[in-house]
């Protein structure tokens, strides 16, 4: 998928985490490995929840971990992780089963991606369906399918 940010390698499935901090760190690993973000960015994603509360848990079961561009984004990137055992962020939208990590370079260049994400997230029981897939291919297929 040439035009796709969310490659198979950026999708981690059925992971275990003992805390939301650990979950964010894990979910960000592909971005760190690919050089999209620095270690500081991963820490900043965690710090922003510590500072401002779990506002990244945007809807039941789903968190969009992110921080500011200047916190250490080198290149636009997106990774995804599903949790075998859902975890609590201390949000009314707990427990979280699916985490996306966003690394945006500026406020506008990822708007198209966000529009697509909004479409995907608007589908019925999409979080449960994403949480249950067994392969990255199936995960991508679900995202593609929800495009129509």
């Amino acid at each position: 998928m040439q035009t796709t940010l969310l490659t198979k390698e950026n999708i981690l499935l059925q992971q275990e985490s003992t805390s939301w901090q650990e979950a964010i760190k894990k979910a960000a690993q592909p971005l760190l490995r690919n050089g999209n973000v620095t270690k500081q960015y991963v820490e900043a994603m965690i710090q922003s929840v510590l500072d401002a509360g779990p506002y990244i848990v945007l809807m039941p079961g789903f968190a969009l971990a992110h921080a500011r561009s200047e916190d250490g984004v080198c290149r636009l990137g997106l990774s995804a992780m599903t949790l075998n055992t859902p975890i609590s962020f201390g949000s009314p939208n707990d427990p979280v089963k699916v985490i996306f990590c966003l690394a945006a370079i500026d406020p506008t260049s990822h708007l198209e991606l966000m529009g697509e994400l909004a479409e995907v997230l608007a589908r019925d029981s999409i979080i449960d369906r994403l949480a249950n897939v067994a392969t990255p291919e199936a995960f991508i297929q679900l995202l593609e399918e929800t495009r129509s």
Partner: protein, 121 residues
């Protein structure tokens, strides 16, 4: 540069910061969060589609919390936990918190309450 190939005619992701000419009164809502990158970006997309579908007399701007510096519009909208912070109490503008940013019903309900409040002001 998204998940997928470029799409045509996706008007929903364009900024509508410049007010359109209108006869009636239009209200201005700033949709913002700390980074202005993720949470509020998605919320803004959703809010704009609800406004459009219902024909609410509302314009929106979007950004990080800096958009509130010198803000003279009618309301600030964000995720519920940010809206509930002490910083946003007793403001000259309304403060609207959204719990489930993908819930059109919640956004619609809160925008209608906002419009009612503005009419009685």
């Amino acid at each position: 540069m998204g998940f997928f190939q470029k799409k045509k005619n996706d008007a929903s992701i364009q900024s509508d910061a410049k007010p359109k000419a209108s006869i009636g009164k239009k209200y201005l809502i700033a949709v913002a969060c700390r980074a202005g990158m993720g949470s509020s970006t998605l919320l803004h997309i959703k809010v704009k589609s609800v406004i459009e579908e219902n024909g609410y007399p509302i314009e929106t701007i979007h950004g990080n919390l800096d958009v509130l510096i010198g803000f003279t519009g009618d309301a600030f909208m964000s995720m519920a936990d940010i809206a509930a912070e002490p910083d946003f109490q007793n403001k000259p503008y309304e403060v609207i918190g959204i719990q489930n940013i993908m819930s059109k019903e919640e956004i619609q309900g809160k925008l209608e309450t906002f419009l009612e409040t503005m009419q009685t002001k």
